[in-house]
Structures are given as C-alpha cells and as structure tokens.
C-alpha cells in the first residue's frame, strides 16, 4: 500500500499507543526525525520503549524524558564517559525510572535487519567475552565460539529522509541513511519526516533508499538540526 501524506508531525504520531516500541532513525544530527520526536513529546504517550543509536547527546529523543514518556531505551550511546554534562535520560536512569539496554552498534543494526528480513538471528563475535554476552546463547562451530543475537522489532518506526515521493519512496542525503533504511523494514507502522515531497518518478529508481512499500506515513517538515553535545 502506498504512503499517506500527513499535514503535520502531530497528526502523524497522534495514534501511536502507549507502551509501543518505537524505532528512531538517525545518528545524532544526521537523518534524525526531530520533528516527529517533538510531536511525540507533545502527544504525550507513555510507557514507550525507544530503540535508537543515541539518547541524551543533544538529540531530541532526550526530550521524551522530561515527562517520563520512556519506560525503556535500547541504544548504543546513552551514558557519557564524563560527568561534565548530563542528560535528562541519565538523570532518570540513575533514579531507576527508565531501563537501559546497551547494544553494540553493529549488533543493533543486525538485530533490526534480522527482524525486517525474516531471519531468526545472526551469529557474531561482537560482545563475546563481555557483559553484552550475559544471558545469551553461544554456539560453537568448528571450534569457534559465536554469540547468537536475536531479531529486534518495533511497533513504530520514526524516520527522517531528505525527500519522499507521494508513494512513499524515500531518498537520503549524505550520511543521513544510517539506521533509517533498515528500521523502515522492521516496524509495523513506518512514519517518515522529509524535507520535500515530490512526484513519483522524480526520485530516480536507483536513488531510492527506502522503497515505498515500507513507508506508511510521510510528513513534510522544516528540518530541525541538532548537534552532538559530548
């Protein structure tokens, strides 16, 4: 089915239920759906699980901590090495008000990809012999140990792309791809914030980064740049 065009970010996220698992595309400032995150803040859902590369590094995902909308975060960057700066997320986390699962970046993307690609899991060496392996199955093949990593799926994905056509094909710009194309495959409802909406055919077929069939909702927004705050 083709994507539906929404007039506002608020309308696009309004019916996300409480307790949903939300995949959030982007890498700090690149390809990050900041408008959708702020809309989600205004919308006020609670008990959410957020899956994202980073939280609290200057990103607006951290804003969802102001009103304690997040119950759990699955991320690769969440706690700073130095205490010089802090985030709303860190404060809640230290207070025991939000759970955190740290996942290596390469494992996070493979878990999302497995969910989207119908795979039951992948074997990786990443995390072997570390805290990350605790409670996980290891498999020995030809005398080598591998860690079995399982699929990670979302109810919702919030993405950011450069352009969309009216069918929902997404085109990314520069390093704006990162987690977005894989997250598009791994959620039941995919909502994309874009800078421009064009006609089908205006994005060359070779330059489509996410095919239209993965995208349910598109909303055009002024991009809202954020910056890494180490």
């Amino acid at each position: 089915m083709l994507a539906e065009i929404y007039d506002t970010a608020d309308a696009a996220v309004a019916d996300i239920p409480d307790h949903a698992t939300i995949l959030v595309g982007g890498f700090v400032s690149a390809g990050t759906p900041s408008n959708l995150l702020l809309a989600l803040k205004r919308s006020g859902q609670t008990g959410l699980t957020a899956v994202a590369n980073n939280i609290g590094l200057g990103d607006l995902l951290d804003e969802l901590c102001e009103d304690r909308q997040l119950a759990q975060v699955i991320a690769t960057f969440a706690i700073r090495a130095s205490g010089a700066r802090s985030s709303r997320f860190e404060a809640l986390y230290r207070n025991g008000e939000v759970e955190l699962e740290l996942v290596p970046q390469g494992t996070l993307i493979e878990r999302l990809r497995a969910a989207g690609a119908g795979l039951g899991g992948v074997l990786t060496k990443t995390g072997l012999g570390t805290m990350i392996a605790e409670g996980k199955q290891t498999i020995e093949l030809d005398g080598e140990q591998w860690l079995l990593e399982r699929p990670l799926r979302g109810d919702i994905a919030l993405l950011k792309a450069w352009r969309a056509d009216r069918y929902g094909n997404l085109q990314y710009r520069l390093a704006g791809r990162n987690f977005n194309p894989v997250m598009a495959t791994a959620a039941d409802l995919v909502i994309a914030e874009v800078e421009e909406i064009v006609e089908p055919g205006d994005i060359a077929p070779e330059q489509v980064g996410t095919p239209a069939i993965y995208v349910d909702r598109v909303v055009q927004c002024e991009p809202m740049p954020v910056r890494w705050e180490g």
């Binding site: 700090v28 969440a78 970046q105 990809r113 012999g129 805290m131 990314y172 390093a175 791809r177 194309p181």
Partner: protein
C-alpha cells in the same frame, strides 16, 4: 622510582601524531571518539589514507567546524569534509565493513588495556554505565587495533594492567598501545616496549605500567 606523579610525556596532540605514524599509506582507518579524532589532522593527503566513520562514510578528511551540515558528520557528531571518491552507506553496510575485516586499522581510546590485549573502553563503573557505540565491533573486526590513551589515570593508576577490572570491550584484541609515555606492542607472549616518549626512561614506563612489560628489545625514543 617512588614518583607519585608520572613524568610529563606527550600532549594529546602528540599522542595523535605518533598514532598517525602507525598507519600504513593507502590504508582504511576508523578513528574513535575523543583523542583518536585528532589523528586525522596528522595525515597527509599524499598518504592516501581513507577514513571510515561508523555512521556510514568512507573518505572523510578534516573536521570542519565552520560549516555545519547535520547530515555530514563523523561518528563523534563532528562536521567533516569529503575527499574525492568518498562514499556513503547505511549502518548495516558500515558494520559489515567493520566486522567483516575490511578496516585495516582502528584507533580507539582506552580506559584499560590488559597484558593479553584485552580492552576496556566503554563502561565507566564510577558512572554506572557507558556508551558502547561501535567500539566492540571495531575491536573485533579491525585488522589492527591501536589504543591511544593516557598511560596513567588522574588518580595515578596505570591504565595498563595485568587484568582489566573495568568491563571489557573485547578480549585479546589490542595490537599496539600508544600513550603519552610509550609505544607498547601486545605480542603473543605479553606486552613489549617498543618506544619511549622524549625525556621518559624505560624505567619510568615500567614503573607506571601495572603489568609485566618486556623491555628487552632495543627500545628507541619516539620520532615525532
């Protein structure tokens, strides 16, 4: 030898310079967040080194703080410039590149390195957490892993230890340690001192290293 403060060694910039010297011309290199990002500034275009960033860039050059494009950043969020022949890809392809052994060298920061080359660099017990980012994948996947860090903590504890007490990033992954005091190779038989910083003695390095350190090689002074 009863010093309570380590000798004054290399500045952060000079550690980065020395780390840059460790890179082969034409190689593909990933730089970790923090000190390692400084390494890019000490590489000549003629070296033909291609820098890879986890967030999906191959072929970025300098950090360009002046002209911020939110979609053109390295894995530390810093704005970067591209070289001709650069390419972009998504995170799945980026970590296929990293985990698949296609990165010739990674330079990462460290909290602790053990005698057998275990690395701890992501979880800070004092902060009750950490950020793993791409460090575990890089530690496992990079063909050569170089750790660039201060030799000694601010509290006066060596970061080079028999066994890491911080949570590991990966076991047996480090090839070379470059600090303000020394260049140390991790070999099959343990740590082996290769170079000392100008003005730093072999004895001083050994003193501030909390692990067995083989100093039997012809140790030279770093060329900077």
């Amino acid at each position: 030898m009863a010093a309570t403060k380590p000798p004054s060694g290399l500045s952060r910039d000079l550690i980065a310079l020395r780390a840059a010297r460790e890179l082969q011309p034409g190689s593909v290199v990933n730089l970790g967040i923090g000190l390692p990002t400084l390494v890019g500034g000490f590489v000549e275009p003629s070296d033909g080194i291609l820098f890879q960033a986890e967030n999906g860039i191959l072929g970025y050059s300098g950090i360009s703080e002046s002209d911020f494009d939110p979609d053109l950043i390295n894995a530390g969020g810093q704005p970067v410039e591209l070289v001709d022949g650069a390419s972009f890809f998504d995170t799945a392809d980026s970590f296929a590149m990293i985990r698949g052994g296609h990165i010739d060298a990674a330079i990462l920061g460290g909290l602790q390195v053990s005698a057998q080359g275990d690395l701890a660099n992501w979880y800070v017990p004092a902060r009750g957490g950490g950020s793993v980012g791409g460090a575990m994948d890089l530690a496992v996947g990079a063909r050569k892993l170089i750790i660039a860090m201060a030799h000694v903590t601010r509290d006066g504890n060596s970061r080079i230890v028999e066994v890491c007490d911080y949570p590991l990033t990966a076991p047996r992954c480090v090839d070379v340690i470059i600090t303000d005091l020394a260049v140390i190779d991790v070999t099959a038989s343990g740590l082996s001192l290769r170079e000392v910083a100008p003005g730093v003695s072999v004895e001083q390095v050994a003193h501030w290293t909390a692990a067995s350190l083989d100093v039997s090689r012809d140790v030279t002074e770093m060329l900077l």
